[in-house]
């Protein structure tokens, strides 16, 4: 906590927030047309804070994260918007400048730890790489730092495991190694994409505890991408609910849980008990819309139990709900209990 205070005091940028994403849009120009995977998303993140991004599969969570890092794979492109990190717009940086941000100021733990570690390199090498790129560490210092990192994510007998290859590690250990890679250069922001889907219940709980401890030690700000409202409740200060490439509701976790205002958020919360078994959000009737052909009105309207004529015609304005920071994009917010 004290560390967080210090960081706020010594912050070197002039903007309000550590991270400020403004109207970010990422489109995929596929053979079938334009897929608007992320379509005008705005949010912010402060130092040491934890933000959840929840939504169904395909709602654009991972693409939002990749957009922030400017790593959207072709045929995807950032078509609009700004990403301010410490007051600096990342979308304006050169490739070389951007490489200095990645891994050093903003890092990410990818969705699937089974495939996100390189099978050809020992785990120690993979942790060492960012340290040598960004901090220029070499030799013995580097080696010690790598072991420290593996210890920080509580890999047992870390010294002995440095030379292990990914296929020699269990799922949980791979997940932790991926965490060690992400945290190694003490980034300001660490994005965790589906931090626990690959893990069983107890290991999942341990891993989340671990991330909390890492946050306390380092003061890193987290963005948790997940399907699971349970993880949001446990880990996050604020939450963005994404649906079909847009944020439909956002706010402090307590406000959103007590007072969910978008019908999609409500249905997500209804799914909660079942979700503990790490299930996809299939319990909401119907399918999310195809990003190539979003409906022109509210994108949730076709699945919304209480949709009116206007919902099918115009996209709803964002309404401020309880508290200033709690927003919902719905024509009839909060009327759905």
């Amino acid at each position: 906590m004290t560390q967080q205070m210090e960081q706020t005091e010594t912050k070197s940028y002039t903007g309000d927030h550590l991270l400020d994403v403004k109207d970010l849009s990422v489109y995929f120009f596929t053979r079938r047309g334009v897929a608007r995977a992320v379509d005008g998303v705005s949010f912010h993140l402060d130092e040491g804070e934890s933000l959840g991004i929840v939504g169904e599969s395909g709602s654009g969570k991972s693409v939002t994260a990749l957009g922030m890092l400017r790593l959207v794979p072709p045929p995807g492109e950032i078509v609009k918007g700004e990403v301010y990190l410490e007051g600096e717009d990342l979308t304006k940086l050169s490739g070389r400048q951007m490489r200095k941000i990645r891994g050093r100021k903003m890092s990410m733990i990818l969705q699937d730890p089974m495939t996100s570690l390189n099978p050809s390199f020992a785990i120690g090498n993979q942790v060492a790489e960012s340290l040598s790129i960004h901090q220029g560490l070499r030799g013995k210092t580097l080696k010690n730092k790598v072991v420290d990192m593996l210890k920080m994510v509580r890999i047992p007998a870390a010294e002995a495991r440095v030379g292990d290859f990914p296929h020699q590690l269990s799922g949980g250990m791979r997940q932790r190694s991926a965490g060690a890679i992400g945290i190694s250069c003490m980034p300001k922001i660490l994005i965790c994409d589906e931090p626990t889907t690959a893990l069983d219940m107890t290991i999942q709980a341990q891993y989340l505890e671990l991330l909390k401890d890492v946050q306390e030690e380092t003061g890193v700000a987290f963005i948790f991408i997940t399907h699971d409202m349970g993880i949001v409740a446990k880990m996050c200060d604020r939450v963005n609910v994404m649906y079909a490439g847009r944020i439909v509701e956002s706010g402090p976790v307590l406000d959103v849980f007590r007072n969910p205002s978008h019908p999609y958020t409500i249905s997500l919360l209804r799914c909660l008990p079942r979700l503990e078994a790490v299930e996809r959000l299939e319990s909401i009737d119907g399918q999310p819309p195809d990003p190539h052909v979003f409906p022109s009105g509210c994108r949730f309207a076709p699945r919304c139990p209480k949709a009116q004529a206007i919902c099918h015609e115009t996209y709803p304005e964002t309404t401020v709900m309880t508290g200033t920071d709690h927003l919902a994009a719905c024509h009839f917010p909060g009327d759905w209990k």
Partner: protein, 306 residues
């Protein structure tokens, strides 16, 4: 790892043994060499005598054991047409073939790998387009035809390079080496490209970029090390292809190598040469395969540490 190598080596020896039997049988089935050695008007006794001399009257297994014992002591028999030890003939010709295939192999990797990587990294670009066109063309044209076309262009029309022979340095090597390498270059390029494309889509390549790794290192360190594995396996096939191709290409370019030796021997039913060369090629291939397997194991930690 060492257990793996021992296991693979034992495999190689067994394969070699089986191949030697097959070679021996096929040569025996392909025709009676005595008929070629004995003049048509010679009496039947001469024929019988020749059979005895070559010990072709013994049981086939005995013939095999005799032959094998000789082979293992370096005695590959005597050419029936040239009256010289086969070993001498092969040793005389082998350097030429080795030189040719080694250059062709180097040429294949030095051109096929970088272009394949580049084409994958710049997918849809001009070079990718050219490379893919070349891959289709290169794999569709037989190498004797390519050889003749090269001779016409570079030797006859432009006069830059000699059309045939070996005496006189590297100039003489270029056309036959390119001809042999033509098809494998196309294959390596195509395989490298598709293997790289797959790897470049992987999560671990994405993670390398998330870490801030330079794009050239993403390509050559993170992606290529994994993408090279299938190409390495393919390079064992390339060696077979080149050795096989050398028979035709050496003939087209009058290259005094083992390939041409064996082709002449086939025409003359000179079976000691044929069986020795086929056995040599097989040994060559099996050894190459073994080396590829070991390199593969070395590069692939899943095998190295098991």
């Amino acid at each position: 790892m060492s257990r793996y190598i021992i296991k693979r080596s034992i495999h190689a020896v067994i394969t070699l043994f089986v191949v030697s039997i097959v070679v021996f049988m096929i040569v025996r089935l392909s025709g009676d060499p005595v008929l070629l050695l004995v003049p048509d008007e010679a009496p039947a006794e001469d024929y019988e005598e020749m059979r005895k001399l070559l010990r072709l009257d013994e049981h086939i297994t005995v013939q095999y054991v005799i032959w094998m014992r000789q082979v293992l002591t370096g005695d590959l028999g005597e050419s029936t047409t040239q009256r010289l030890p086969v070993a001498t003939l092969i040793i005389e010709r082998f350097p030429a073939t080795l030189q040719l295939t080694a250059l062709a192999f180097a040429f294949t990797l030095l051109i096929g790998l970088p272009i394949g990587v580049y084409a994958a990294a710049h997918r849809g670009g001009a070079l990718d387009f050219l490379a893919r066109g070349f891959a289709v063309f290169g794999q569709a044209t037989p190498n004797f035809w390519m050889g003749i076309v090269f001779i016409m262009i570079f030797a006859v029309w432009l006069g830059w390079l000699p059309a045939a022979g070996r005496e006189g340095g590297i100039k003489f090597l270029i056309l036959p080496a390119v001809t042999i390498g033509w098809f494998p270059v196309a294959g390596v390029m195509r395989l490298t490209r598709s293997s790289m494309l797959e790897v470049l889509n992987s999560e671990y390549v994405k993670l390398a970029r998330v870490k801030g790794v330079r794009e050239s290192l993403v390509l050559w360190k993170h992606a290529f090390k994994n993408a090279a594995l299938p190409v390495l396996t393919y390079s064992a096939l390339i060696i077979v292809f080149m050795v096989r191709g050398s028979v035709i290409v050496e003939t087209v370019f009058a290259w005094p190598g083992v390939g041409r030796l064996v082709l002449e021997a086939v025409y003359n039913r000179d079976f000691p040469i044929v069986q020795a060369v086929v056995l040599l090629f097989a040994t060559f291939f099996i050894t190459a395969n073994l080396m590829v397997d070991i390199t593969y194991a070395y590069l692939n930690p899943k095998i190295r540490y098991s």
